[in-house]
C-alpha cells in the first residue's frame, strides 16, 4: 500500500548512491563526516554490510561515536530474507490469530515490521544516553524474529512452563464469557462481560430475558458453553441497531464498543484532531496520515503538517552539491557513471 511510503518517509531528504561502486562508498564516508551523522541505520542483508562499506567497523573508523543500527530478519549471522508475513508465520503470531479450529491468519497490521522499528527506537534511545554519558558509540543488531516473538508474552510461558499450548480462539476470551464480537442490524459490537453482576444486568434488558438459565448464572457455566451462548446472544443483538445497543448496554453498565470501520476511526473525536497531513508542494496533493502515538509540541507547532516525502534522489543536488560542495560537472559525471 502507498500509505507505507507516506507515513515512513515524511520529513526526510533522499539521495541515491551506488554503494557497490568505490566512489559511492567514498561519498558515503564523506557524508557521514560532513553531516556529523549521529545514527546510521540499514536494512541490508548482513552479508552486504562489508561489501557495501557500511559495516560498523568501517563507519566507526569515520566517526568513532556513531550509533549503528542494522535491522535484519534473523540477526547478523543469518542472510535469510524476511518480510513481515514470514515473521508472522515463523514467529507464532499467525498461530495465535484466527477463528478457533480455523486456518492461521495474518494480522491486520504488519506488527513485525513496525514493532521491530519501535524496539529499535528504544535501543537507539539507550545508545544516545550511553553516548551522552560515555562519549562511546554503539552497534545495534536488531532481528525481526526477536522483536516478533517478544510479543508472545503469555503463550511462551504457558507452553514451556505450564505445558498448556495456547492457540487462536477467534474473538472469545480464555477465562470470561460472554466476551466476543456480536452482530447488530447495521454492524458489529464487541462486548466484554467480566463478572456475574454484569450478566444479571444483561438479563434485565428486554430482548435478553430468554438467556436466564441456571447453568449460565456463573462465569464457569457460561465459559463451558460459550459457543452456543454466543450464538444465542447474537440472535438477540441482531434485533438492535448498533447505536441503540450501545446506549442500552452503557445504561446497564455492560462494557461495549462499536467495531469501527477505518472511516469511522478517522472520524472518531478521539482520533480526528490528531491526524497528520502532508502536502506535495509540486502538485498540491494532500495526504492524511495516522496520528502519532504521542502528540508532541513540535507537531502542534507545525500544524501537524509534515514535509512531503521526497522523490527518489530528490535531494541529490542539495546534499552532494550543497553539503559536499560538488560542482555541476562533477554531479553530472557521477550521474553518467551511475554512482548517484
Amino acid at each position: 500500500m502507498c500509505s507505507y511510503f507516506f507515513a515512513f518517509n515524511s520529513g526526510k531528504e533522499a539521495v541515491t548512491l551506488d554503494l557497490k561502486n568505490q566512489r559511492g562508498q567514498e561519498i558515503l564516508r564523506k557524508l557521514i563526516k560532513e553531516l556529523n551523522v549521529d545514527i546510521f541505520t540499514t536494512n541490508q542483508l548482513p552479508k552486504n554490510y562489508a561489501t557495501l562499506g557500511i559495516d560498523y567497523d568501517a563507519l566507526r573508523a569515520v566517526k568513532p561515536d556513531i550509533i549503528w543500527l542494522g535491522i535484519s530478519g534473523f540477526g547478523p549471522d543469518s542472510n535469510e530474507a524476511a518480510y513481515d508475513p514470514i515473521l508472522q508465520a515463523r514467529g507464532g503470531l499467525m498461530e495465535m490469530t484466527g477463528e478457533a479450529g480455523g486456518e492461521p491468519q495474518v494480522l491486520g497490521i504488519p506488527l513485525p515490521d513496525m514493532g521491530t522499528s519501535e524496539h529499535a527506537y528504544g535501543l537507539i534511545m539507550k545508545a544516545l544516553f550511553k553516548r551522552a554519558m560515555t562519549n562511546e558509540g554503539s552497534r545495534i543488531d536488531m532481528a525481526m524474529i526477536d522483536s516478533t516473538v517478544s510479543w508472545l508474552v503469555q503463550p511462551v510461558t504457558m507452553a514451556t512452563t505450564f505445558n498448556q499450548v495456547m492457540t487462536r480462539r477467534g474473538n472469545t476470551h480464555e477465562f470470561f464469557a460472554p466476551v466476543s464480537v456480536f452482530p447488530t442490524s447495521d454492524g458489529f459490537v464487541y462486548v466484554a462481560m467480566g463478572n456475574d453482576i454484569q450478566w444479571q444486568r444483561l438479563l434485565a434488558i428486554p430482548g435478553f430475558e430468554q438467556l436466564a438459565e441456571p447453568c449460565y448464572e456463573k462465569n464457569a457455566g457460561r465459559i463451558a458453553d460459550k459457543h452456543r451462548l454466543n450464538e444465542r446472544i447474537a440472535e438477540a443483538t441482531r434485533k438492535f441497531g448498533t447505536a441503540e445497543l450501545i446506549e442500552t448496554f452503557r445504561r446497564a453498565m455492560i462494557p461495549i464498543a462499536k467495531v469501527q470501520g477505518i472511516r469511522d476511526v478517522c472520524e472518531d473525536p478521539a482520533v480526528k484532531p490528531k491526524l497528520l497531513k502532508s502536502v506535495d508542494p509540486a502538485t498540491g496533493f494532500e495526504v492524511t496520515m495516522a496520528p502519532p502515538p504521542y502528540m508532541t509540541e513540535y507537531l502542534k507547532e507545525i500544524d501537524q503538517t509534515l514535509p512531503f516525502p521526497p522523490r527518489l534522489g530528490e535531494h541529490n543536488e542539495a546534499v552532494y552539491g550543497g553539503i559536499l560542495g560538488m560542482g555541476k560537472h562533477e554531479l553530472e559525471a557521477l550521474r553518467r557513471d551511475g554512482v548517484i
Partner: protein, 77 residues
C-alpha cells in the same frame, strides 16, 4: 558527562534503505492512477535507482522523534 543535557539535540540520522524502491513505486502507481488515471512505464524506468538509496532527517526546529519501517529519523532541534 558534559553532553548529558544535550542527548536529543541536533541529531542527524542517515538511513540506507534497501526497501525504499518498492514503497516508492507503489506510491507512484497509486498517485498517478489517482491524478492521471493511468500509470506511465516511462516513469517506472525513471524511478528505478542505480543501487541503494539513502535518506536523512530534515532540519527542524524542535525535538521530535519518529520511527519508521526501515529507518529511524531523529529530527533536529
Amino acid at each position: 558527562m558534559k553532553r548529558n543535557s544535550n542527548i536529543f539535540r541536533n541529531l542527524t540520522v542517515l538511513s540506507l534503505e534497501q526497501a525504499t524502491v518498492l514503497p516508492y513505486l507503489t506510491w507512484l502507481i497509486a498517485w498517478r492512477r489517482m491524478v492521471f488515471g493511468s500509470f506511465g512505464w516511462s516513469t517506472l524506468s525513471n524511478a528505478i535507482p542505480t543501487a541503494g538509496s539513502a535518506t536523512r532527517s530534515s532540519q527542524v526546529k524542535k525535538r521530535c522523534v519518529r520511527t519508521s519501517l526501515h529507518s529511524i529519523q531523529v529530527k533536529r532541534q
